[in-house]
Chain length 369, copies 2
């Protein structure tokens, strides 16, 4: 069993990202191991999950924690982005109160990005902050949502408008849990993996190019997939370490997201999932970069092929209202003083940030899709 | 006009506490002055206040900000602890959304502790954290609530159970605003001032002893009152700087609060306000300290006299259910692994933390009041 630990050093504390096939059984031990997790945790642990994930992995995680001496309870929330609300957070609060959780108690998020975001926000805001551990079970959560301390819920009028930056004590990634992930969700996670290749890690990009298939878990050799997850987690950790609160560099993680978010929003979050929207956003950003003479047509082609091989969309629906995109872009929460920020590649593994993209260039990019 | 700036250096940022009689007019300038507030703020500022405070100080604060070039809006919440709820936070969110506040925008809390706590929590959690400025107008908020980064709201079943640690960019204390504060609220703030004297600052204690009266704003010379506020703010800043997240030292600020909270809770927050409950808690803690031979009867007497001179209560209602206190103590959120922590004086200006107070000693202290 190959275990990799990626340290994430931040001003307040350093925490580890463990990438460990079969590692769910180690959670309790690692939380008690002062060389891995440096804070002495209280006895009480509350696992937050959803019914599907709990069915697969609840018992193994609960046993691991109980064997290490923790007093373990669990609380299940229905699966799905539409439950990522303050109402769900209030339910976690009520349960935390019933269990008399203390400052030293721990919330463990066992699930995908929705569970991780909500559990993290509840941990950040209950008693002004209790311990928090991420056990992501979706590829998207493993390589993106679980790393970097972003937590929160949706406002009825916008995604992730309510939240906090709050760091976990440990992120435990067990790639074996991906075997129960739906294919479409796996591909959504791969969109973010491809993103890291383009913005940060040329070797990761080339590793993905060498894979015969990147569209399904079962077609990828476990050791290659673990390597891909490790490189992606390392990329995310590198960036957030240098910019914890999204003041500067961290913006590069939004490659493909500026237009991606607009597409998700305009299609009511029903047509594309997040990863698919990001894939479309990367296609659009690449076209913008070529129009501005920042990126080569050859590199764009390589990105395009990789996205297609992964089974992610590269074309917009024929009835898509392109004109509406500009409007949506201006209401994005990353807009600063009214200017829309784009992340554009300059070569594979490198990007630049700009707020100087003419609207006509954006429309042309979308029209070409 | 005497202006004192107390720097509060924390790992993420240093901010200033300005103690400035008549300083409300300076708010806009100081937020733009890089030597006082080091972050470049966006144009949009939302002042959160309540109707009473807004009537007195809204215009002057709004003008000060507008003259410095900010685009200013305000949002009023009803006054009172019972509105310190997630529901009120959601109303701030809705207004923030309507104004399209951005990451660089600023929430200004203009009011007492309730407004400060709620505005801070909204600032901490909107877009995962926007800029926040405290303009406390009650004595309690000036010397306690506005300093240290505690923000939050009440849960239906417990005070301040929901919240976050979140630091302001600036705390502006204008002692002149105390002229509109109700006498009972002034005395409640004085309870915390006396607390700083006992736990941290003997000179402050002696300064209070030398005052002819400490029970009303109008009987205190402005320069003495400003000095008292400055020393109190400095004490709070000293402690929170050394222990931002309440891991250790910060616990000493809970002198008088262990039993104070229990008394507040048992009387349904209707008989005593927070400061009055803290005064009672200090009387009880002093008695405990004497029973344990930690503190002298003479020092206890001096504290007692100061509390009485300030017009704060020193005796429990005759029908008070003393036996219920122990029960309530165990549900306090500061309980750690089931042990109740007390802060007890060893001499004037110094305290120690202990979780070894026998229940019989607590009951005896309360029975004697």
């Amino acid at each position: 069993m190959q275990h990799t630990f990626i340290p994430v050093p931040l001003p307040q504390q350093t925490y580890q990202i463990a990438i460990a096939p079969g590692g769910l059984t180690q959670l309790g031990l690692w939380l008690q191991d002062r060389s891995i997790q440096s804070v002495k945790l209280g006895k009480k642990v509350l696992i937050v999950s959803n019914p599907q994930i709990w069915k697969y992995y609840g018992e193994i995680v609960q046993e691991s924690l109980a064997e290490a001496g923790f007093q373990v309870d669990h609380f299940l929330l229905p699966a799905g982005e539409r439950y990522k609300t303050l109402r769900s957070i209030q339910k976690i609060y009520d349960y935390a109160l019933a269990l008399k959780l203390e400052r030293s108690s721990t919330l463990v998020a066992l699930g995908g990005g929705v569970i991780g975001d909500m559990t993290g926000f509840a941990a950040a805001t209950w008693l002004r902050g209790i311990n928090f551990v991420q056990v992501p079970t979706s590829l998207l959560a493993m390589v993106d949502a679980a790393i970097g301390g972003k937590t929160g819920v949706n406002h009825p009028q916008g995604k992730n408008l309510i939240g906090a930056f709050y760091q976990p004590r440990l992120v435990l990634i067990d790639p074996d849990t991906l075997q129960t992930l739906a294919g479409r969700e796996f591909r959504a996670g791969m969109a973010e993996v491809i993103k890291y290749g383009v913005i940060w890690d040329l070797e990761l990009f080339e590793l993905l190019e060498r894979c015969d298939r990147t569209d399904q878990y079962r077609f990828m050799p476990p050791e290659i997939l673990t390597d891909i997850i490790t490189r992606s987690a390392q990329a995310k950790a590198d960036v957030v370490t240098q910019d914890e609160k999204e003041a500067g560099l961290r913006a590069i993680l939004n490659y493909g997201h500026t237009i991606g978010h607009a597409i998700e929003s305009l299609t009511g979050y029903r047509v594309f999932n997040h990863g698919e929207a990001v894939a479309l956003g990367m296609v659009a950003a690449a076209d913008i970069a070529v129009q501005l003479d920042w990126w080569s047509a050859e590199a764009v082609q390589r990105q395009h092929q990789l996205i297609q091989k992964t089974g992610l969309p590269t074309a917009l629906p024929t009835d898509f209202a392109i004109d509406a995109v500009a409007n949506v872009l201006l209401t994005d929460k990353k807009v600063k003083d009214g200017k829309v920020r784009f992340i554009l590649p300059t070569q594979l593994g490198q990007v630049k940030i700009t707020d100087q993209v003419p609207p006509s260039v954006i429309v042309k990019a979308l029209a070409g899709m």
